[in-house]
């Protein structure tokens, strides 16, 4: 993986969301998209050739919290919320990242594939499917959703921007996931 450079990394929690300026749509997004976008914003990267930049997201919980929130609206006058329904796709965050940064490269969203993101991104770059790749691991599980699904409560996101060649820290075979990559870069 020596010719693949880690240009930037980030690690964020909901406390970081207010540090960045987003457009008016941001308030209508679900917490997964808000946190994922914040992680990408925290990279501080100005993307260059946007047509060839892809986005890969991995998530364990997916849209679990939004699923529960959406389904609760079925009892409201007018029925289920269309604005929440569109965020019940776990891949919504890839779309929001692409829209905000104008990235028209390929997309991938892996459920439970947090240890596969860097390998997939490296393959895209190596085989020319993309010249750059925004990688995000993002999980938000609220208390009620966690209890229903039997999974722990969490709200955390990590991101990295990888490029083929160019400046940055080389990606190595030992970089298994975004969490450990972010820790290595920080150290």
């Amino acid at each position: 993986m020596s010719n693949i450079a880690v240009v930037a990394t980030s690690s964020v929690t909901p406390a970081d969301v207010s540090r960045y300026q987003f457009g008016s749509r941001f308030g209508r997004m679900d917490p997964v998209c808000q946190l994922g976008l914040t992680a990408v914003e925290a990279l501080g990267v100005k993307f260059g050739s946007r047509a060839d930049i892809g986005v890969i997201v991995a998530t364990n919980a997916g849209s679990l919290t939004t699923d529960v929130q959406y389904w609760r609206t079925r009892n409201e006058p007018g029925g289920v919320s269309p604005s929440l329904f569109i965020y019940t796709l776990p891949s919504s965050v890839t779309g929001e990242i692409a829209i905000r940064h104008g990235l028209t490269g390929p997309n991938l969203c892996l459920l439970g594939g947090c240890d596969q993101v860097l390998g997939e991104a490296a393959e895209w770059l190596r085989h020319g499917e993309a010249t750059g790749c925004v990688c995000v691991e993002c999980d938000v599980v609220a208390t009620d959703a966690g209890e229903l699904a039997g999974v722990p409560v969490v709200a955390r996101a990590w991101a990295a921007f990888l490029q083929r060649g160019g400046g940055g820290i080389p990606l190595t075979e030992n970089d298994r996931d975004l969490r450990s990559l972010c820790a290595r870069v920080r150290a």
Partner: protein, 375 residues
Amino acid sequence: MGGALEIAIAGCGAVSAVGADVAGLREAIRNNTSGLRPVPRFTGAAFQSNIVGATTVEGEDPIYELADRALREARHEAAGRLENIPPARIGLVLATTKANIEALERLTEDRPCAVSARRHWQAQWLAEDLAAAHGAAGPVQCVSVACISGMLAISQGAKLLQRDLADAVLVVGADCLSRFIVAGFSSLKALDPLGCRPFDRDRAGLSAGEAGAAVVLVRGEGATTIAGWGGSNDANHLTGPSRDGSGLALAIQRALDAARLKPRDIGYVNAHGTGTPYNDAMESLALRTIFGNACPPVSASKGMFGHTLGAAGVLETIVCVVAATERCLPGTPRLTTPVMAEVLHVPQTGARVRHSLKLGTGFGGVNAALVVRHE
């Protein structure tokens, strides 16, 4: 973009509204029949339409049943190619958008919900359980990228073979009908009350469907191979497709480049064809951008079994396989007045197709194109 040299489809399996196996699908293609019908549980104020593509699968964990049955059929057909491959070299890629979302309905309404049904609300656990049940002890992935999930799962499976991480990959797409999903599309006013009519002048929306569809991918030669794929994002709108079709055209061009083909090499296009006014208009423009006035025959299959979401890409790729092997280009069930002259009303028999193009688009602005080569 990506190309998968000598990645063969060794077996197919399909459970859909037109039958419990590929034979049922084949019959529906030959006869241009639609499996869409009214289903009482989707009747009421919360639902814009009760016309859906339902299977006969029932129970607390229907998505597992759909995926399991499709995998059994695909593995049976591919048995000769699988018999000497150890389990550790067999991978599995699952495509789904909502896994067993019906578990949420059950849990919030104090209805019975088996442990496995609750577990399969989380798609990655469904993938793990399917892999264990089908002897796939190699790499397991779970892809969820809206309505292109199935097409991406096929390309991910091909990549696992290219990277020598497996010698065979079971690719399965599955999603089941639920009030959660049908009410959601209703809230977006995205359902056609009369049932979906892709590429029809009077189309008014999609019809929800459910399916399990599986293919077995192996390295080497075969009657059908994956020649290339491409993906893109419109970077434009979360739910609305780009108005000019440029994003989908980009994905098609990337797939053609990966397959080292020209537009004239494509003999058949299986469109995404949801039946929504904007999708089909956008898709028509993308086809014109790539093919100009020499567009090959096009059909859309969602009038046959509905929009099966995470299964759609796999199921409709199987339609391409059946079309080539049967020399029968599918028609477009429920179509009356096509908006493009190239859209086939009824099946066209006797045509030999060397390369098919499968298209997909989805919420989040995602686009995908897959080129399938037929020997």
